[in-house]
């Protein structure tokens, strides 16, 4: 038996030698995998990059499987997704894995970036690794946007419209850019085909090549050592110091450090599978028929913050901000390691870095949160679906009741909240009479202003009268009504000392 065992071991070794003599990759790869890395960076905070790579591999695999069924034609794309969801065994699960994998990948890539930034790991000699990493982030976001287009539902259609509208703001070459993006004069078959080519060939190719270069540079320079306050990076000494550290405290990356990467990657994969299984695939929403205008287009989660920012930019600044700020932001990220390539790495000694990350994270979080409930958008059906609360109708005169009807029929509720219900584009009206006098309300309703359209053309005098009378009954929890301070002053006779108005003045009705 022992002879048999020896023989089989020898046979296996011989096959290995045969293969490696011809392939020549196994020895260098295993040497790279077991290279010594400073023991300080075998940490749970150093696991995001490998998890992002694992997610990328899963996205490629699920993407290929989806492409077996998906039809990249404007005619059939939406239908083929329905077919995947309902008719192909486990098609829904593959779509869900791909969709949730995309969200997780963006999140992990951002975490990876924040960790590298806060640990100063982008400094010498890893500047180019960071720059390639920034490009990889942009490519990942490009995958997310083009992937949303391939879903080819209403959101995808109008999302393309938003993209084209943004491009159309570029001076001089706006029109050619729009036509380049759409592949023709309108959103159609050519548009979907080119986004398919981008999502399936161009961006993944760049992404895989970029990841290859990124990992190669990580191997070349080693995983950055854990930063220590006061240990400064200097181009003259850093590589020598790193080499000594790896020599002194080095442990083989595989398996001593890599087991944490593997455990984290497994946890992330399990989370993706759990989300896919329990929450299912994203859409598709309504069919991409541009004549169905009862649509409230919204981008995917990763782009909600952009959607929110676009609601708040003043019109005079919008084009400039849309076209200039992204260029500056990306240039800033790319140039960061060239500007701050040396010096302190530890976050405790880099207050500006910590502050920047905090401010950016809070800003993105707030805008994303706003994007989930879009308070700037009129609620298109609020006027028919959200009745006036009964407490605002009790004890009112017939004229005021008629005014409540005008408020409802003229779609005021699409933008105005009563008792927590309605659109939030304009201010809530629950206590409007405590803030505005009758004259002010009439002026505001008829002439508009401050982001409110003028309703002068849509209201006749009796409707206006009734509406304003109803609005004057809305004083919150019995707040005093707003008064015109100048009126009491003009009423004062010359011998009286003017007094600040405290009581509710009697309004003289003619």
């Amino acid at each position: 038996m022992a002879g048999l065992k020896d023989r089989s071991i020898r046979a296996a070794l011989q096959s290995y030698e045969w293969l490696e003599h011809r392939l020549g990759l196994i020895k260098p790869l295993s040497a790279a995998a077991t290279h010594p890395t400073p023991s300080s960076n075998a940490s749970w905070l150093y696991v995001f990059g490998s998890a992002a790579t694992v997610l990328l591999v899963m996205q490629v695999m699920t993407g290929i499987l989806l492409a077996l069924v998906y039809s990249p034609s404007a005619n059939e794309a939406w239908g083929s997704l329905q077919f995947l969801n309902h008719n192909v065994a486990l098609g829904w699960y593959l779509r869900a894995l791909h969709g949730w994998g995309s969200d997780f990948m963006i999140a992990i890539v951002l975490l990876h970036m924040v960790q590298v930034f806060l640990f100063g790991a982008f400094k010498f000699p890893r500047e180019l690794t960071w720059i390639i990493g920034v490009l990889l982030l942009l490519l990942t976001l490009g995958m997310a946007f083009t992937g949303q287009v391939l879903r080819f539902d209403q959101d995808a259609y109008w999302g393309l419209g938003i993209g084209a509208s943004i491009l159309s703001r570029v001076p001089v070459i706006g029109a050619p850019l729009v036509h380049m993006m759409l592949g023709g004069p309108i959103i159609g078959g050519a548009t979907l085909s080119r986004f398919f080519a981008l999502h399936v060939f161009v961006i993944p190719g760049l992404l895989l090549a970029g990841v290859g270069v990124h990992i190669w540079m990580t191997l070349l320079h080693g995983v950055s050592d854990w930063p220590m306050p006061g240990r400064l990076v200097s181009k003259a000494t850093y590589e020598q110091e790193y080499h000594e550290l790896a020599e002194k405290t080095g442990i083989p990356f595989v398996p001593d450090a890599a087991w944490k990467d593997a455990v984290f990657a497994a946890a992330i994969m399990f989370s993706v599978m759990a989300c896919a299984f329990f929450f299912g695939p994203f859409g598709p929403g309504g069919p991409p028929d541009p004549t169905i205008i009862q649509s409230v287009p919204k981008p995917d989660f990763a782009f909600l913050w952009i959607y929110a920012v676009l609601a708040f930019l003043p019109a005079s600044l919008e084009t400039a901000v849309i076209l200039v700020v992204p260029v500056l932001a990306i240039a800033g990220l790319l140039l960061l390691p060239l500007i701050a390539g040396e010096g302190e790495r530890h976050w405790a000694r880099r207050p500006v870095a910590v502050l920047s990350v905090s401010v950016i994270a809070v800003t993105l979080g707030i805008f994303t949160h706003l994007g989930t409930y879009t308070p700037w958008s009129p609620i298109m059906d609020a006027w028919t679906s959200t009745p006036i609360p009964p407490k605002y109708l009790q004890g009112r005169t017939p004229l005021e009741h008629a005014g409540a009807l005008v408020l409802q029929n003229k779609q005021c509720r699409n933008c105005h909240v009563l008792d927590g219900e309605g659109g939030q584009r304009g201010p809530a009206l629950d206590a409007i009479a405590a803030h505005m006098t009758e004259d002010q309300i009439i002026r505001q309703v008829l002439q508009g202003g401050g982001n409110m359209p003028a309703y002068g053309n849509a209201l006749n005098p009796s409707e206006t009268k009734a509406l304003v009378r109803f609005l004057l009954t809305l004083r919150g929890k019995d707040l005093p009504p707003a008064i015109d301070a100048s009126r009491s002053l003009t009423d004062t006779s010359e011998v009286q000392v003017p007094q600040a108005p405290v009581a509710v003045p009697e309004r003289k009705t003619p």
Binding site: D289, L310, G448, G449, G456
Partner: protein
């Protein structure tokens, strides 16, 4: 020296004297440079049509895009009302499917006067909806609002709705449709140039309610 020539004896060059070696080397270097030039030339000849193909959609003249489209009989549009009309884009092509359809808002001002608006909001292109009661177009995306004549009422748009050119051919209402309207590829940009907005109060509009 390259790894592949690690056995000098194998190279026939070895027997040559140094001068001849150098001459052969410089001749080969020259030939290599020549071959690089040759490939650059071939690459350029190859690239020109490829880039031309890629830029094809962008170089088409705007004026040549589009055609007159019949929206139906004028009787279908009551005076004073604004209605949604669908039509098939005259510039649709292979495999566009449902996306070849276009919707527009037709407003009949009087017997002979029409206004036809694109549904695409002038802000970022979302589909605006008409509210007859408040005589407003509202956009679901960022809250742009327009008056019945298409002029800007409120919100982020910097101009009024995009308008199609119209003409009446007997009983038929025709519009000129082509490009998807955006700020750069407007359905009709002659009458409504891109202007910076004034505050909403100062916007020019009919003031019949003041009369």
């Amino acid at each position: 020296m390259s790894n592949l020539l690690k056995y000098p004896g194998e190279s026939s060059n070895d027997s040559l004297p140094p001068e001849a070696k150098a001459a052969a080397h410089s001749r080969r270097t020259f030939l290599f440079k020549l071959s690089v030039l040759l490939n650059a030339a071939v690459g350029t000849v190859l690239a020109v049509p490829l880039v031309g193909y890629l830029l094809g959609p962008a170089v088409k003249k705007d004026a040549s895009v589009g055609a007159w489209v019949n929206l139906g009989r004028t009787d279908d549009f009551p005076v004073g009302e604004t209605r949604l009309v669908d039509f098939l884009s005259p510039v649709n092509s292979l495999g566009d499917g449902e996306t070849a359809k276009v919707a527009c808002w037709v407003r009949r001002i009087s017997e002979q006067r029409f206004q036809v608006f694109a549904v695409n909001c002038a802000h970022l292109g979302c589909p605006v909806r008409w509210f007859a009661e408040s005589k407003l177009f509202m956009c679901p995306c960022h809250g742009g609002a327009y008056y019945q004549d298409g002029s800007r009422a409120a919100g982020p748009p910097e101009r009024g709705l995009f308008e199609y050119h119209t003409k009446l051919d007997g009983e038929a209402l025709l519009i000129h449709a082509g490009n998807m309207p955006t700020l750069a590829t407007q359905a009709s940009c002659k009458e409504k140039p891109l202007v910076q907005i004034a505050p909403a109060e100062a916007a020019t509009r009919s003031t019949s309610w003041q009369a």
